[in-house]
Structure formats: structure tokens, C-alpha cells
Amino acid sequence: MKPRFILVHTAVIVGMLLRAGPVPAGQPDVNAAIEKMPAANAVDAQAVFESILQGGAPAISAVCDQVRAPGDGDDHKARYLLGGLAFHVARSGATAGREEFSKALLAAIQKAGDAGIKSFHMGLLRWCGGAECLAPLSALLGDPDLTEPATQALLAIRAPGTAEVLLAALKKAEGGPAITLVKALGELREARAIPLVAPYATHADAEVRHVALQALADMIPARRQRTGTGSPRELLRAACRTDEPLERVLATSLLLHHARRLAEAGAKAEGAALCREVLAQAAAESPEHLAPAALHALAGMAGDQALPDLIAAVEHPNRPISVAAMRTLISMNRPKARAELDRILTRGPDHLRLALLATLDDSTGAAHFNAIAANLGHENPEVRAAAIRAMTHPRGLPALLAYLKSENAQQLPDIQKAILTIAGPDEMSAIAAALAGAPAPARTLLLDLLGQRRATGSFNAVFDLTADTDAAVRLAALKALGGVATPDQLPKMTRLLLKTTESSEQTALQRSVIHVSKTMPDAERRADALLAVLPSASPEATEAIVGSLSELGGPAALRAVTEAGAGEQENVRNAALKSLADWPDDSAAEAMLQASVRATDLTQKVLLLRGYVRVIRAGALPAEEKLARYRAALPVAPRPEDKAMILGALVDIKTMDALRLLGGHLGDPALREQIAPLAVIVACADGEYKGLTDPAARPILSAVLEIVKDDNVRARVTAQLAKIE
């Protein structure tokens, strides 16, 4: 903490204590209460609040007295307390405490000399003030520095009589305070203010004009004063005729707002007439974007009588107007509106159908299901696609499946997406049944759906299609088997695998077999189905099978791969060695190392070594055992980078033996630059790891220091050396 801050802080506290003086008998210790701020929780806070409230007005005033003018010292604890009290006293059922607190704030406002302090207290009254605030706050409305916070507090409180005090203040106000009051009277919808506000509607300043027009839009005078010069309607209409584009737009929007207020006041016909006026204006000229708002308001006021306007607007070439009319018709949910929407869907032009289908897709198309479904047969593919998207609810499935069977079914991705949204286990039998009689592209899609959804009850239907005359269907069926088959169906699948000769089909079926095998709970038996057919497999199939056994693992599969890796047939051997290098666990480590020793091809040798290090690192062997395995692999490494790769695994083993093994290679010019950072990781502290402090580490780290150049790394090494006795 800075000395100057401490001095100021102390001075403030001392000053507060001196001002507060001794605590009178029966009164709470206000300074002690303030010092408890901020309370750690609601219970502690309430205890402090209650102690202050028990002290009544004197205690509250004492807290208020400690609020300082901005820049006049740190009073944040007093503000904490007052802020908390304002919410506390405003809770339900705390009327007496609320009023006492509010009155104390009002007294503090009167007492304070600084506008910043007064504003703070008025800000609190926004939360807790009541009718008692009306007169004291109204007295502040004439002070240009306080009009705004006082008005905001009055607006928040909204006690009876608020409009009257604001009206009285507006009569005397000018400049900024007058604008504040005009705005407030608008929010209160105070029609008596119209004559006072009207002159501001033609003020030279655009911002002032807008505030006045906003206020006037909210004010509904008595019926006979609603038209004619000086009425809000006429002033708003006049503003709508300005040449300034944004002002014209905003004024027109406010005229609509006025129409809504008229309707709320019971004058629906007048409101509707204004809406039509705006609508006509919007359709004929700018601002056309207000037409949606006019339609929305008109529908609310005129009901069925707005239908002709809405139907006409649907045909409007401006898309926002057209779509807004459609949305309004949908939201009206009346028979005539629904009939009109169905008419568009069945007899309307394409662009309207498209827009409406997209809009129904947003909400719900259920009410227009038949009309939407009729568009599945439409000649325009965009309309068909939009209809498909609008049918993503359970009732849509039969129609979509029926459509799939028609010869002109297109938009298959859209249909698939829609069905995936609809279909769960209960719908799979319907999807499988649709396979019969569907054109080839549709069958392909349905097979994919069954596979994706793991429709195990559809295995036979899918398996039958693996012999389909259409190649795409056959391939889709073979792929789908991976989803729909269960492990007990693997023998049937592997027998088929032996008979399959076409390359892509063989690959697809093999993937499916592997996929199903992986669902077997006994991990060691997962390769059984493939191993069972291996003796009778063709060389091509054998190559594919041994190449995929690493995905399944298990001891029997490992034996098969190891044997094949030492076999005569080159393709099978290569596939087996690659499979071995990809083995998922360290059960294959020794086989990998031996195969690497035997391998003559550099790529194979390196891949096997990498596989070896990978499975050892991921395995559960003790650290010293892992170290021994890495040490054993080093002589097999054909190149320096392969040695570095093996030694890189030592970063997991932070022992002196690991460091010694690394240290043994620091003298190798081909390895030293790569090994030194590894030694730093093994030996030096990092986070919670304390590093190695065995004296035997010193010469190795000293040698590392000769090699590394990065200052941060060197600092770590030096720090570690300092820890070694």
C-alpha cells in the first residue's frame, strides 16, 4: 500500500471518528457498523442493517453524513452500507423501516451541500423511495444540477401526484431540465402536458424535437382534442413530412406508437386508421420498412378487418413487408388467416410459397400440414426443398417416406436431415419398410439412415440389399451393416467378406465387421470373427484382415499379426508389420522391437520403433522397467533422430537413472542439442516438481549448461545447481 494512500485513509477515518463523537447510550455504533462493510454474507449484512435501523433516524443520518463529495476521500464503506440498506428496507413487509430510511435520505439530501452527494442519495431513493419523497424531490426539480437525478427517482417511485409536480416544474423550466421533464411526462403518458410539450416539437434542435415527439406519442388527450392544431397526432404528422430522412422515419414510427396508445385507450378505430395511414405512406414512399410495424399494430387493433390489408401486403414486392404480413397472419391464428396461408401454399407463386414455407419452418407448420405436403410434388426443386424443411415434425415422416418412393425424389440431403430430426427407434421399422419399392438413390439414403440410427431390428432387410443389382445400394448396405448388426451376426458378415471381391465393397464390409466387433464386451475376443476366416481368405483378403487387426487387439490377433509379419508373402507381411506398429497396447512391445531388429526396410524399422516407444510410454510398466525398455531399444535405432525420439520419452521418468542415460549422450555431437533440453526437464524444478538434487546430477547439469543458450533455460539449470549440495 502506498504511504500517501495510508495517510489519506487514516486521516479520513480519524476525521470520521472525530465527527461522529462518542456513541450515545442506546444508539448503535455507526462507525463500527460501517467498518464491518462489506458484510461477508446476507446474514451478517442484515444484522448490521437491523442495528442501524434500530437506531432510527439519528443512526441513518450518521451513516449518510459519512458520504463524501466525489474526490473528497474514500467513503466506500458508508456507500456499501447505505446501498445495502436501500434494498433491505424495500423488501416486502418492511414499510416502517423503509419510510424512516427514505425520510433520513431526504433529510441528508437537504443537508448536503454537494450535488454529487445529493445525487447518490437520490439514486438510493430509486430503489426504496415512496410517496413521502414526492414533495421533497419536487423541490429539487428547479435546480439544473438536480433535475435529472430527482426526476429519475420520481419516475422510479411513481407516487400519486408525480405528474402534477413534473407539470408544475416544466412550466418554470427551460434548457436541459425542461427536456428531462418533457421526457418524464411522456413516460407517464400525461396528456395534460400536451400544451407545454407541443412547442418543443418544432424546436430548432433535432434532439429536443425528438424527445418532445416521443413524449407526445405517448399522450392521448380527450376525444375532442385528439385532432386539430397542437394535437399530438397533427404534430407527429407534421414531423413525418420533414425532409430529414432519419427524423421522418422516427416520426413515422412514433405516429404508429401513438396509434397503439390510442388503441390501448379504447380508440381502436382511430388507431387502426392511423396504422392504415402509415401503411399507405410506407407503401408509396419511404419509409417502407415501417410497413411491418403498421401491419402488426393494425392486426392487433382491427382483427379480421385487417385481413384485406395483410393479404395485400403479402403480395408486396418488398420482402420484409411480405414476410411480416405472413408472420402476422400466422400469429393471428384465425380461420380466415389460416385459409389465406393455405391458399398461398397451394396456389401462390413460387416466391411466396418459398417465403411462407421458410416462415412456417421458423414457427410451426403443423396447422398447414396438408398444404405444405402438397408442395413435395411441386415442379420447382427449391419449393420442394423448403417444403421438406417445413415438415420436420413426427407427422411429416410418412409423407417424406412416400415422397422418397416417387421417381422424381430429389433433395436427398434435405430429406435425410429432416428424417434424422424426426426418427428414433420407434420409426425404424417404417424406414426399413420403405426400402421395398424405393428407387436406388432413395434406398441408399434409407440404408444410411438405418445404419446411422443403429436399427438392429433391420439387419435382415439391410443384409438382403448387399446382393442388390445396383452397386451404390450394395455399398450402402455393406456400410449400414456396421450400424445395424450385432456381434452374433458377425459370422454371417465375415462369410460374406470372403465372397466379396470388389475393392470398395470389401473395404466397406471390413469396416463394418470391425465396427461391430468393437461393440463386443470382451476385448480379447473382438478379433475372433476375423481370425476365424483368415485361414480360408484369399491373399488380398488376408492382407486387408491382418492390416486391420490392430484396431481390435487381443492376444490371438497379436499372434496372427506377428506370424504374418514374418511370413513369405510381401504384401501380407507389410500389412502385418504396419498393423503391428499401430498396436493399441504394450502387449505388442516385445514383438515390435524384435520385428524392428529384423526389418530391413528403414521406414518399417522406424515405424515399429515409434510404435514401441508409444506403447511403452502409454503403458503401466514401472518407471525403471520403462527405462530398461528404452535402453534396450537404443541400439536398434538406425539414425540419431530415432535415438532422440527414444530418449525423448525419458521426460516422463524424472529419476537419476534417466538423467544418467541422457547424460551419456550429451557428448554425442549429433544428439547433444536435442538431449540437453530433455535433461533440463528431467532434472530441474518446475511447478510442484522440486527437481533432482543428487550430487551426481551436478556434472550432467554443468554439461547441459555448456550446451543450452536460452537465458530462461540457463537460469533454471543454474537455480537447480544451486540446490545441489
Binding site: 462489506p38 454529487g116 422516427l250 410495424a293 402488426h296 418459398l354 416462415t359 461393440t519
Partner: protein, 422 residues
Amino acid sequence: MKKAPLSRRAFLRSAAATAVFSIVPRHVLGGPGYTPPSERLTKAIIGVGGMGLEHLGLGDSKLLAVCDVDETHLKRAVERGGPDVKGYRDFREVLARPDIDIVHIPTPPHWHALISIAAAEAGKDVWCEKPMARTIGESRRVREVMQRHGRIFRLNTWFRFQSDLYGIGKPVQPIKKAVMNGLLGWPLKVTVGAHQGFDWKLGMWQGRPHLAPEPVPDRLDYDLWLGPAPFKPYNAHRTHGTFRGYWDYDGGGLGDMGMHYLDPVQYLLDKDDTSPVEMEADSPLQHPDAALPWRRVRMKYADGCEIILDGDNTLNQAPFIEGPEGWISKGFASSIADLEQKLRELPDPPPQQTDFEDSVRRRKTFALNESNGHRSCSLVNLAICAVRLGRPLRYDPVAERFVNDEAANRLIDQPMRAPWRI
């Protein structure tokens, strides 16, 4: 209705024009994926401080205008925007431009509702930063005006339709699938905190309870920066980069991360058209000006679903989402065996409209819009009310008012400083 002559923008948006383009493939017009310049939407960005600069790169629309009350921000954005971009200090001048289709609003949140509404009234579509608004009353008003004017509105958070959901490590869709198909049972409890992979950043976004007045920098129009907020003497900590720490402008960590974290939760619980009925916070006493850390917020819906916000990161055993039948937690860990396999068999969540420019062109509601955005922003603001008031609250999600708590209701609708009003 009399048909109006079509302006450039009206032509671009006209249904007839769409029909033409649907017949002539886009690649014929200008190559695959090519948007002819005359067809390209245009945008302005209002508020080009830290987050505002990010908006320069959002979407495919052409930037024409930037606006800021800080000259330094404005100058930098104009330079980055390029030769076609004009700078403005007052957003109303931007809204007056008829050639701008979309307005991005990455200002501090106390301006979001006001500018969104003004933009809608001026015929613009809106891409607004989160949180949607600073109070429930403000976001409700944005919803009304957007729908009334038929404008397209999107919020700048996206976890209900794309990206991995923070610590869950997967998009929200698989969880939605599990929820909507009943795998977890009902009702559900969602816990959102560091142990579930969601950092509330409460330390980062806290205000200072004591701020000494400072001279307003010449480059900054502080009065316009404050706008509808109550006047308080300038201190740099109130403004750029740290404004989130003050209730007048935002809501601390809840304001920053709340919609990112809670909008997907609302989507998961299928609560896009309602709000919780009970809320309660465990917090130190909050300062009337500065937003400070809190420990816990609990919100409960009428059907028993709960959302727990863990602010002090102590709920280390709670899953992200749990029901009577199972749970899913950080890293998509789950008590349900073979969850991913089971999910494959179940219907997908309904597709969402996630291309904003397409929404604007086709007038199709965006995935996160003024309606569900208002409800998820309400979650944030209900939590803020609970934290500020320090007592249990009851809420009527239909009337959108607190039950029997006048002070809480005064937090819903707060007066704005003149001349600003919505």
C-alpha cells in the same frame, strides 16, 4: 396496396429478385460461392473499442461505417476498415444512412437496447453483442420492437449452435439430444462453474468501490459514452476495458460470460419462452455502484429444473447436467454407459438457422434471436438482481415481474437519463 418503385435495397430484398436468382445459378453470376458486389449486404459498427474491432471481421457484409465516442478508437477503426469506411461520433448519423443494411452493436451493454431499438425503427437489421441488454425491461422492449418491425436480430454468442461448449469439450447438440430424448430424466439440474469447465471471470470484471474523479480525456465524449446511464464523475476505470465492473453499464462476470454460458443451458432445458420462478444468491454485500464477486446463484423453474452458478468454484463434485436417470459432465463424461452409441439411435435436435446474412436476405429468424435472447439475457439479469438484493426472489415468467418485491421490480425497469428513452 399501391406498389412502390423499388430502391436498390428494396430490389435486393424483393421476393421477385430472389425468384430470379433461384433460376440463375450463383456460379453463373460470379463463380461458386461468389457474391456479386451489388448483392452484398452492407454494415456499420457502432462501438469500435476492444470487442468492436472483432466485429470488423464478422460476417460477409461490406463495412461502410464505424462509430465511436472515443476519437482514438474511431481513428483506428477507420484505418483498419479501409477507404470505403466513414467514421462517426454519433450513432444516429449512422442510422440515417439509407445504404446500410445491418448494424453491429458492440458498445457497452447500457447502450445495447437503445441502439438496437433505434436501428430497428430506422429499418436496419441488428447484430448485437452480449448481453442483449442491461435490464429485463430493456431486453423485453428490444424483443417487442424487433418483432413489431419485422427486423432480423442476432446476439453475438453462438454456443447453442456451434463450437465446443467450454469444458464439456463438445458442441451442445449431443447433450440436447440426450435431454430431449429423456436419457437423463426430468427435472434437470445444471451447474455452471470452473469445475464444470466454465470460468465466471469474477475477479477480472470487478469494479472498484471507490473511484476518485479524473479529468475527462479530450478524445472522449464522456456524456455520450454515459448516454442513458446516470451521470457519475469520470474515472478511466468506468470506461474502456473495465466498464463491466459497474452496475450502471453491465453486470461483472455475469454480464461478460452469462449469455455465453446460460443461453446453451436455456436451449438444453427447452426454456426459450419462459424464465425461472425462484432465484437466490449467496454473496458478500454488493456495492451500489461496483459489481463484485459472488459465491453462488441458484435459479429454479416452475417444473423443478434448476440452474446453479458456482462463483467461488467449490462445487467440484457436481456434474454439468444431471437428472434422475443420469448425468453428463466436463469432458463429456457421463454416468450413462455407451452414451455416444445410444445417442446415435435417437432423433437429432431440430436444425437451426445459423447463417445471419441468409437470415437477413430471406427474412428468416436467426437461431439466437430477440425472443430466446431476451429469455437467456433474463437469466443473466435475474441472477444479477438476486446478487444485488441478497435475498430470495420469486418471479412470474409470464408477467415478467418479481412477485411481491417492489425494489426488485425497480431493477427491471430503470429510468434512463434524458434525452435517452426506449
